[in-house]
């Protein structure tokens, strides 16, 4: 299945620079519909207003972390199937395992490169 380049993607990160980097990388990959949110609470509000094909989220944010966002998304009947990739500096095995148990589709450790992001998106969104 080819990647749907028209699908909206939600990038969640409290650092605008990181949002900008991911946005540019996604643009390079051909994705044009990219929204962003600065934490889990803002992301949930966006997710309830628009159907996203993918969420790319940081872990460490306030007030709501990416881990809490993931759990909210998986607990919500309307959002639970939304593909979710964690992009974070949280690299301990306990973090990865907790995210996997909570239902994350893939996990990228910062710093990362464009190729890694592309591979994970393809793996999650079925290219």
């Amino acid at each position: 299945m080819a990647l749907d380049l028209g699908m909206p993607i939600l990038v969640v990160d409290d650092y605008q620079t990181m949002v900008r980097i991911i946005r540019n990388l996604l643009k390079q990959l051909g994705f044009e519909e990219v929204d962003d949110a600065s934490d889990g609470t803002a992301a949930l509000a966006r997710l309830k207003n628009r159907k996203y094909g993918l969420v790319i989220s940081d872990w460490n944010m306030e007030p709501m972390t990416g881990y809490e966002l993931l759990r909210h998304v998986r607990a919500d009947e309307n959002l639970r199937t939304t593909p979710f990739i964690m992009v974070t500096a949280e690299s301990k095995t306990e973090n990865v395992i907790a995210a996997k148990k909570a239902g994350v589709n893939n996990y990228i450790v910062k710093p990362f490169n464009a190729a890694t992001l592309k591979t994970k998106i393809e793996a999650v969104c079925g290219a």
């Binding site: 540019n24 690299s91 450790v109 910062k110």
Partner: protein
Amino acid sequence: MGGAINARMAAPAMPKAVGAATTKPAATSAKPSLIRELVDIADYITHVRNEIAALRANELTRDRLPMAHEELDSVVQATAGATNSIMTAAEEILSLPDDGNYRASVEARMNDIFEACTFQDITGQRIRKVVDALRQLETRLSRFATAVKARDEAGIDPAEMERRMRDELLILNGPQLKGPATPQDAIDALFD
């Protein structure tokens, strides 16, 4: 501290004061002891006052700590500004038309990137100033703690306790000092 001093004064003085009401020899032996005790306390207070003065707390709170805040704020602003300039140049390069001016346009943006990278020298100097200030603070606090034989209050600071509980609950470990704790390859293996 006041309680400790009072305890030191009261403990030896009380039995002798009781004895003083009944027998005269006990009263005369109590006086030099009490005086010695008071002299010790006065010496201790002088010592602590000298150590507090050596802390130069006013200088720390008036000059050094605000300086450290300002320097670190400047570092944050400089790195953000440089990142912004570099990303803007990169975005402009990516959207350049493929025409005869392409090379000249790329070279102009590359110069912008080189200029933006000069932040590193200045931020390095700023961070060194902050490190020096922190080192001085550490030295003075360490000397003071040793001089007054300070012991930490039992238990953990409530704000710190709250922070630790949040970190534990939400598994917030933060970035590791020497790169990722788990390499990307090992993480990938968990998702294959």
